[in-house]
């Protein structure tokens, strides 16, 4: 009888442990980040007080992240969701939230943390028309490539964490101050590093470089895609080729989530060099947001100077 009772207790404990997901009662704030950039910034701000899981990987196209059931369970148990925002996650977050049954992290709820909150959007479409491709109604959402915007993202994230976990306010404010100071130092370094990019005419694969180009003075001449989200056609590529030759474009930027073939083919025909960058942190093997910006800038400078990225 005693052994039966012990077995029963063991089973009950095991079931309870399973239902609680194996998490101790003092679990950290469980944060799910949609993309690696906001994940890294959130980690740096939250420190040991939070745990962060990421949905998309740095090598992926944020417009084409698979909707996996394993993401649903992460979101179901999340205390907060951090998105980059401006509709960048439209391909997967709405569908996942629909299945996640967690109204705390629904858009507009307290624990839905939108990193775009203080960003000034560029390329806000004046009309919502699909003849212009897959437009983001709120503006171009690829602001993470500009480190100055990174500071604004950090601020929105820190405020969001504080909103969800007021007891950790001091921790998050310290984290924000540390991250911002670090980023400021790097921004000063990058200003010198990226000097060769000023005035550089470039073609990119997707229309995602406006913030980066504005920051470092690059001129965007065209995209390999016909329109945002619309794959290249032969006619468009011929037109782009003529434009590149006329404008003397020396660098083609391929975001690593996209097919390398077209960029290489254009480079062969025009004599331009291909710079491979990642529009998300971690895509080029970088460790986080700051490393990723530096890796992108080094790749661009190397292509501009005709050397290999160091």
């Amino acid at each position: 009888m005693a052994s039966l009772s012990a077995s029963l207790r063991f089973v009950l404990v095991a079931i309870s442990f399973t239902l609680l997901g194996g998490q101790p009662a003092y679990a950290k704030l469980r944060v799910v980040a949609a993309l690696p950039d906001v994940a890294d910034i959130t980690r740096q701000i939250g420190g040991d007080r939070i745990s962060v899981e990421t949905i998309a990987e740095g090598t992926q196209d944020p417009h084409k992240v698979p909707v996996k059931p394993s993401f649903v369970t992460k979101l179901n148990r999340a205390d907060a969701l951090v998105v980059q925002g401006l509709g960048l996650e439209h391909a997967f977050i709405p569908a996942l939230l629909e299945a996640a049954r967690n109204d705390r992290i629904m858009p507009g709820a307290v624990a839905y943390i939108d990193a775009s909150l203080y960003v000034k959007p560029l390329e806000v479409p004046s009309s919502q028309n699909r003849t212009q491709g897959e437009l983001h109604p709120l503006g171009n959402p690829h602001f993470n490539l500009d480190p100055e915007q990174g500071k604004l993202m950090a601020r929105a994230i820190a405020e969001g964490l504080e909103r969800v976990d007021p007891a950790g306010a001091a921790n998050y404010r310290d984290g924000l101050a540390r991250f911002t100071a670090l980023l400021d130092r790097k921004i000063a370094e990058w200003q010198k590093l990226a000097a060769p990019l000023r005035g550089l005419k470039v073609v990119s694969y997707h229309q995602d470089l406006i913030y980066l180009a504005n920051r470092y003075g690059m001129q965007l001449v065209g995209t390999i895609e016909v329109k945002p989200g619309i794959p290249a056609t032969p006619g468009h590529l011929e037109e782009l080729l003529s434009t590149m030759q006329r404008e003397k474009v020396k660098v083609i930027i391929r975001e690593i989530a996209y097919d390398p073939g077209l960029a290489r083919s254009l480079a062969e025909r025009t004599g331009a060099r291909v710079a491979e960058i990642s529009s998300l942190a971690g895509g080029l093997g970088s460790k986080g947001y700051i490393d990723s910006i530096e890796a992108d800038l080094r790749a661009l400078v190397a292509a501009a100077q005709g050397t290999s990225a160091g």
């Binding site: 394993s70 369970t73 509709g87 897959e134 601020r155 989530a257």
Partner: protein
């Protein structure tokens, strides 16, 4: 002599050198002046460059300081412009609460059948153009606890019908969700998908015959997501019946109204998922539904889907390997001309399909399918169908598909060629369930 010469040569050299210096002095003075002028010009340019750089830095700092400025107070009207800091927690697309998301799907096809056979699974003889689906899809949150959607569907053959009109709870505790109204019951994988979302130009014949087209139903469904790291979802439901064509049959026979509880259809559907590797995942499901009274009908099904979804530049490549199999055990009542029951026959029939679809790049995918099906009633009318299909997507909102089907079995072999053209107007998404 040698010493004289040795003394005399330097003297001559001195004279020559002095002459050259005298001759060269005006040129050297001119060069110094030019160097001085260039130095001054360089200094001025460097100063101008430095001033310009300083101005650029100042402007950059001003822009940054403006961008870092505190957000507008909550009393400001944040929806008027996207250039201002957003509302308190999120920057969301402006939505008129009175207008739901609306979309329309145009799914049209041309098909040609070589032989006049397999009319029982929708293969008529000859060629025809058809509106396979014209679907108006409407969805919106209703209040903080409920959302709703409707799919109003028209086809060349059947006219317009309300395919789905359902309400779904959004805020029940304990991970429960309740759905009610007319909707596709949660049977397997493809039976509850809309036609235009299928990876083929047709619904697999086995699903068409055994389930009765899509899993249309009127009823109520409860699903529960296990609150653990591993994905497990359980669905249970009660319905008038399951199967769009079966529902039509029931309604045609005057079964709009009441019936005994035991004559309702009951469903259970556990469903789970495994990440095998970073890019390879597996979904497994089991389905049972039936009519309890006298075990009138019992359908058992199993579905398996293996997906390869790579990251980086191969994000548009990958493959799906999917299969479903159903066993239908059903009792059919036969009557004589006066309406007297003369026989009750219990038939065991089965069918299923397996398919492979490879995604070559962002635009093209293609694959093959094999389907085995039996008629649920009457003679088995066994059919085997081998299909190949190629899909081209000029954009995310338009699709062109070619499909060839070869069907053989208890009727003469038939070949069907189909060209399907599908386009999505507006915000069309069936969400997580039809991923």
């Amino acid at each position: 002599m040698r010493s004289f010469r040795s003394r005399g040569l330097p003297r001559a050299a001195l004279w020559v050198g002095a002459g050259l210096v005298l001759l060269a002095t005006p040129n050297a003075r001119a060069a110094d002046s030019e160097v001085e002028r260039l130095r001054k010009e360089l200094g001025q340019t460097q100063q101008e460059l430095s001033d310009t750089k300083q101005k650029l830095d100042d402007l950059g700092q001003r822009v940054d300081s403006l961008q870092n400025a505190p957000p507008a107070p909550a009393t400001a009207a944040p929806m008027e412009t996207t250039a201002q800091p957003g509302p308190a927690t999120a920057r969301l697309a402006p939505v008129n609460v009175d207008n739901p998301a609306i979309s329309f799907v145009v799914d049209t096809a041309f098909a040609h059948d070589a032989r006049n056979s397999w009319g029982s699974i929708g293969y008529p003889n000859g060629a025809d153009f058809a509106l396979k689906t014209g679907e108006l899809f409407i969805s919106a949150p209703i209040d903080p606890f409920l959302r709703g959607y409707a799919a109003i569907n028209g086809t060349s053959e059947e006219g317009f019908d309300i395919e789905e009109a359902a309400l779904i709870t959004t805020a029940l505790p304990w991970n429960f969700t309740v759905k009610g109204g007319r909707f596709h019951a949660d049977v397997g994988r493809l039976p509850h998908w809309h036609d235009e979302a299928l990876p083929f130009s047709d619904r697999p014949p086995s699903i068409d015959r055994l389930i009765g087209g899509e899993s249309g139903s009127e009823g109520v469904e409860v699903s529960w997501l296990a609150p653990i790291e591993h994905y497990i979802e359980l669905t249970g439901g009660v319905y008038d019946t399951i199967g769009a064509e079966r529902l039509g049959d029931l309604n045609d026979n005057g079964f709009f109204g009441r019936r005994d509880f035991s004559e309702l259809t009951v469903l259970g559907h556990p469903h789970t998922y495994f990440d095998l590797t970073d890019t390879l995942n597996l979904e497994l499901g089991g389905t049972w539904f039936g009519v309890p009274q006298n075990s009138q009908r019992n359908v058992y099904g199993a579905d398996v889907t293996l997906r390869h979804q790579p990251g980086t530049s191969g994000v548009y490549q990958g493959f799906v390997l999917g299969s479903e199999w159903y066993w239908n055990r059903e009792r059919f009542t036969e009557r004589d001309t006066t309406g007297l029951v003369i026989d009750r026959t219990r038939l065991n029939r089965q069918g299923g399909y397996g398919y492979f679809e490879a995604f070559f790049d962002r635009r093209f995918s293609g694959g093959a399918r094999f389907d085995y099906s039996e008629s649920p009633d009457g003679v088995p009318d066994l059919a085997r169908t081998g299909s190949v299909f190629l899909t081209w997507m000029p954009s995310e909102f338009q699709r062109l598909r070619l499909q060839f089907d070869n069907t053989w079995g208890d009727q003469p072999t038939n070949q069907r060629y189909t060209i399907q053209w599908t386009a999505f107007l507006g915000s069309h998404s069936h969400g997580f369930a039809q991923r």
